[in-house]
């Protein structure tokens, strides 16, 4: 009993201590000097205006794929000058059409700040110092670079987060003039956290300085600055892959690289009878290895035929519910079958089956059949080796 009390006291102390010492968001890279509220690299913005409400997030989406921060060395020289808003046209041809208001609105949001330490190879372009709101005349400037995060698809289909350096080659005068505008007085009622989604480094004859935009009453960049930013012409001068965000396996299979192991996390429901039959048409089957605390990592994926699915539906009839031996947490692998709105999650070497009608615990020969499918697809070896 004393042990319980000690553990409870320890938890109380630990939680309260860490809540009080909660790290200040954005303190790693993007600190502002003029205001005490730090901006967030993963900031979300609650927009409340004239009855319209929207949530926008600047948070990058990453997987926990093995990182090679700073180690890759592919340097790319890419294309000619183009309007900044063109960066948003990731699937487009990078055309340099005149900006429209809609395209320009995407210009700033199209950037994502580096979420990892900047590779040292880029130190000569962008400094790691805190950005400053300063007035600089164009005649003092030798170059201006924008350092931010990008995304690059490799030949094997894997997708990498990259550190990108763009050089500003047009619109500098207007941009510096807008940067020199004074801040508005900040309102106490503002709870917005906003982060400039890129490092903007000005090079002069004797210094490199990261600049911070002039802010409005709620810490957003002034509209005039945003407009000047979006009218800049930039040229990409360097791109360095820093971390794989999507494996080639994800690209090949179309499966998410992580999937919650709901068979462990979900409470068994009172669902009765067999799971809902799947539509007997081709489906994707993604195979995951569980970490036993609720997360699965993709290890294989295959396409099932309509006949495969029909057999799975038949196997549903063999499920023996209320199996006293059944423990939903005992399995090493699970599969997720999905197509459109239809899905089911099944333990490969266990007894949990979850679909939209609920979670069932029961033994069946379904896992054996799915295992056989995986072995026959040639991916069984990978499965067994993990």
């Amino acid at each position: 009993m004393n042990e319980d009390r000690e553990l409870e006291d320890l938890l109380r102390a630990s939680m309260k201590h860490h809540a009080e010492e909660m790290p200040e968001i954005g303190s790693v890279r993007t600190r502002r000097r003029r205001t005490p509220v730090l901006v967030a690299a993963a900031a979300s913005v609650v927009v409340v205006a004239a009855g319209a409400v929207a949530l926008t997030s600047l948070a990058p989406i990453f997987s926990t794929g093995s990182g090679t921060s700073g180690s890759a060395s592919t340097h790319l020289d890419l294309g000619g000058p183009r309007p900044l808003f063109g960066l948003d046209f990731s699937a487009g041809d990078g055309s340099s059409a005149a900006p429209t208001s809609a395209a320009a609105a995407k210009g700033l949001a199209g950037f994502v700040n580096l979420s990892r330490p900047m590779p040292t190879e880029l130190d000569s372009f962008c400094s790691s110092d805190a950005p400053q709101h300063v007035e600089i005349t164009a005649s003092d400037v030798s170059a201006i670079y924008i350092c931010h995060e990008g995304s690059l698809t490799q030949e094997d289909g894997s997708i990498w987060a990259t550190a990108v350096v763009d050089q500003i080659v047009g619109g500098i005068d207007e941009f510096l003039a807008a940067t020199a505008l004074a801040d508005e007085q900040e309102s106490k009622s503002c709870f917005l956290t906003f982060n400039p989604p890129a490092i903007i480094a000005v090079h002069t004859a004797d210094a490199v300085m990261n600049i911070d935009p002039p802010r409005d009453w709620c810490r957003s960049p002034l509209p005039a600055w945003t407009a000047a930013f979006e009218n800049l012409i930039v040229q990409k001068v360097r791109e360095i892959p820093i971390e794989m965000t999507q494996s080639s396996l994800v690209t090949e299979t179309g499966c998410p690289d992580k999937f919650k192991d709901m068979l462990i996390l979900e409470r068994p429901s009172k669902a009765k009878g067999s799971p809902e039959p799947l539509p007997e048409s081709p489906m994707t089957m993604c195979v995951y290895q569980t970490d036993h605390v609720g997360e699965g990592t993709l290890i294989a994926g295959l396409r099932l035929t309509a006949k495969n699915v029909a057999i799975i539906n038949e196997s549903y009839q063999t499920i023996v519910l209320s199996d006293p031996e059944c423990d939903p947490t005992v399995h090493d692998h699970f599969v997720v079958l999905s197509e459109g709105n239809n899905w089911v999650q099944i333990a490969l070497n266990g007894c949990g089956i979850l679909d939209r009608t609920g979670m069932r615990l029961g033994s069946s020969d379904l896992g054996a059949y799915l295992n056989w499918l995986i072995q026959n697809s040639g991916q069984g070896k990978a499965l067994l080796n993990r």
Binding site: L7, H17, P23, A40, A42, V48, D216, F259
Partner: protein, 177 residues
């Protein structure tokens, strides 16, 4: 929304009830979200999403006996549903403090308090949420059940499993030290 017509990215005044609520409770909600998630960025995002929902249903929230409790319920359920959706959408990198115990124990000055925090991050979301509500927000099991939308028995089961896991892993950490 063009850049020149940028709308104010915040509530307009400090004198409407929603703004007052945010000003009064946001910090404590972020702290609770941090204890529940173990990740400062995720906590900020979670609170933003919670406040967005709160704004949408402000009439209902403000009419509740305890608006703060109502919003805490939104936050907790949002978190648990996030945890599900995140599995196929995004994975947040853990902060150094959330690394697995094997790494955390390499820190020369790691205390029991730090180890407990690191081990909390290894618990399933429901267990961690129950422990956070019980030991950080000091809620009764019945209140936790209402907040999470589960039975009190489920709360006690999750708490019991979570504590048992922590006790075992803390002991293992000490034995390995």
């Amino acid at each position: 929304m063009g850049s020149s017509g940028r709308v104010p990215l915040a509530v307009a005044d400090g004198d409407d009830p929603f703004t007052e609520f945010v000003l009064e409770h946001r910090a404590s909600l972020v702290r609770l979200a941090y204890v529940i998630t173990g990740d400062a960025y995720l906590a900020e995002d979670l609170v933003q999403a919670t406040l967005l929902k709160t704004y949408r249903f402000w009439d209902r929230v403000s009419a509740a006996d305890s608006p703060r409790a109502y919003v805490r319920q939104i936050l907790v359920r949002e978190h648990l549903s996030w945890r599900r959706r995140m599995s196929s959408r995004e994975v947040v990198h853990p902060e150094p403090s959330n690394l697995v115990p094997a790494l955390a124990t390499e820190q020369p000055d790691s205390s029991d308090r730090e180890e407990a925090w690191n081990l909390l991050a290894t618990l399933p979301p429901k267990q961690r949420t129950v422990l956070a509500l019980r030991y950080f927000d000091d809620l009764s099991d019945e209140d936790i059940a209402t907040t999470m939308g589960v039975s009190a028995v489920t709360v006690r089961t999750n708490a019991s499993r979570g504590l048992a896991t922590l006790r075992t892993r803390l002991q293992q950490t000490k034995d390995n030290a």
